[in-house]
């Protein structure tokens, strides 16, 4: 598996993705974008791409800390704001989510994390209306495939420039675009509770899983092919099962078909229809 090469030409990626943001946003009738900045690498990269596509003055960066969010997160988000010169606002979500948390003192970290992710979605979509801008997504291909995202939470967006880049590739592009060093090198975290890291929670590293996903998805290897390529059986099975079980997050809810023509099955148009 050492021969799996996830290197990308970052100039080409940058050109295609900034063109995508600019074109699709304008076709939808918008000039502005809104990006939720967590302090992490994905949202930083989305913000850099949006600023390049639209001009920094047309991108609103929104920081949405919870009281236990790490100070680093806020500070790193501020580095992005300062470096790009984008307008920014900070809207804490503590007062939004606390009443719900207090409703059930036994609430698990998972539930609390989902509530925070969805509260941030509410704030972002509200700012979308205030700033007259579309919400730019920050989900990468690794987390989409693993389902490591909150449905209708951090996965909610109007368009997603990063969804076909593995985390490893996000890192390459982020470095090439000048995302500040501390953001590039810190361990990825959803920062939903203290000490949480993506890799700790997932039980494997992005470097490992990206290679496996690349073989399974992009190169159409069977799970058995991946094991023969050198991945452990347990790891392959775990990842395959994660992909399967999270597929509901990657598709719209199925509509029960009754009529001759049904949205989603035989009423087929691109979103860019007529533009």
């Amino acid at each position: 598996m050492d021969n799996v090469d996830l290197a990308i030409d970052t100039d080409l990626a940058r050109q295609i993705l900034s063109g995508f943001i600019k074109t699709e946003l304008h076709r939808a009738g918008y000039e502005h974008a809104v990006v939720g900045l967590s302090g992490g690498i994905d949202s930083a990269l989305s913000c850099y791409l949006a600023a390049e596509a639209l001009g920094p003055q047309n991108v609103l960066a929104v920081r949405m800390p919870y009281k236990s969010s790490s100070a680093d997160s806020l500070e790193h988000a501020q580095m992005v704001i300062d470096d790009l010169g984008v307008p920014a606002t900070t809207i804490p979500i503590t007062d939004l989510v606390e009443p719900l948390f207090q409703h059930d003192p036994q609430m698990s970290s998972l539930r609390r994390g989902n509530i925070m992710a969805r509260a941030r979605m509410i704030v972002l979509y509200d700012q979308s209306e205030v700033f007259k801008g579309l919400v730019i997504g920050t989900g990468n291909k690794t987390e989409i495939l693993l389902g490591y995202t909150t449905l209708y939470g951090d996965s909610a967006c109007a368009l997603n420039p990063l969804g076909d880049l593995y985390k490893t590739q996000v890192r390459q592009l982020a470095r090439a675009m000048g995302v500040p060093e501390p953001i590039l090198t810190k361990p990825p975290t959803a920062d939903l509770w203290k000490g949480q890291t993506d890799e700790g929670e997932l039980g494997f590293t992005y470097a490992e899983v990206d290679k496996l996903l690349y073989l399974l998805v992009d190169q159409r290897y069977s799970p058995q092919d991946c094991i023969e390529a050198g991945f452990s059986t347990g790891f392959v099975n775990k990842v395959v099962e994660k992909i399967r079980r999270s597929h509901f997050k990657r598709v719209l809810p199925p509509i029960a078909k009754l009529s001759n023509r049904t949205v989603g099955y035989d009423f087929l148009y691109l979103r860019d229809w007529g533009t």
Partner: protein
């Protein structure tokens, strides 16, 4: 004889035929001012590519009574034009089509032969399969037109070659895919290799007009090219940007190249036919 061949590497609006026509008319005029004899537009240049259920709504017949084609016919008095459109035949089948128009008349229509229905493609769901491929005479000699997937298969260009085409017009709406460490997408590299290979194999001119822009998440990479009968690149448009490019095709190059390299003269068509016949009719093993 020399001809100036222009490639109109455009973006299109999805399902908006009249607005796309306006853009065509502007570029036709621009090409004429540049001294072009022929301007070639990309696949489905009048309609956009991922049409899905828009297909029946954007179909036009290439006849003078059609309001869209009437204007193209009028514009073709000073310059030949190849455009991409959706053709609806008299039995109401819809084809991905290309029309070659010259001096106010329709010279040739090609219906796409191969409809990719795999991966990100779903053409076979919405379109009928073209069933004929032939070269056609123009005021600049005999040409052949193919649309995108048609020339991913070796047989349509080969048949056009045998049918007399010395200038191949390939029209695409090729979605970019396969980002890796190279400065060129895999789909771009693949198509350029094919075009260069056909120019070399057939000692002919191969012009490829590809579109740019986005449709939802798909990007179209442009990079339109013309190769000469020696397999040399005459011109290449930028990737991902609208551009009108033009190259001079010296048709006497066909004489010089084929004097040196008589691949066409030596092509053993009777052997091909005999062996094809054997393979298709007498070999039950073929599809095992």
């Amino acid at each position: 004889m020399k001809i100036n061949l222009a490639l109109a590497q455009i973006n299109t609006q999805l399902g908006m035929v009249e607005r796309n026509l306006e853009q065509h008319l502007q570029l036709i005029q621009q090409a004429r001012q540049m001294g072009a004899d022929l301007v070639v537009f990309p696949e489905l240049s009048l309609t956009g590519y991922v049409l899905q259920d828009l297909t029946p709504a954007v179909a036009h017949a290439p006849v003078p009574e059609d309001p869209i084609f009437r204007k193209l016919f009028e514009e073709s008095r000073g310059i030949d034009i190849a455009v991409g459109f959706v053709d609806e035949d008299s039995r109401h089948r819809f084809f991905i089509a290309a029309a070659y128009i010259s001096k106010g008349t329709l010279v040739h229509v090609h219906h796409k032969l191969y409809l990719p229905t795999y991966g990100l493609f779903d053409e076979g769901r919405f379109f009928a399969w073209g069933d004929h491929v032939s070269a056609f005479d123009t005021r600049f000699g005999r040409m052949g037109m193919l649309i995108c997937e048609d020339f991913w298969h070796a047989s349509p260009p080969y048949l056009l070659w045998l049918d007399g085409a010395d200038v191949f017009l390939f029209m695409s709406a090729s979605p970019g895919r396969g980002l890796n460490a190279r400065p060129q997408l895999e789909s771009a590299r693949w198509v350029e290799q094919l075009n260069q290979a056909y120019a070399s194999l057939f000692t002919a001119f191969v012009a490829h007009s590809n579109r740019v822009g986005y449709e939802d998440g798909l990007n179209f990479w442009g990079g339109s090219t013309i190769f000469d009968p020696d397999g040399n690149l005459l011109i290449k448009a930028k990737y991902h940007q609208e551009e009108l490019v033009m190259a001079e095709l010296d048709l006497n190059q066909l004489h010089r190249t084929r004097a040196r390299l008589p691949l066409l003269r030596d092509e053993r068509t009777a052997l091909v036919q005999r062996e094809l016949d054997r393979i298709l009719h007498h070999s039950s093993q073929m599809n095992r």
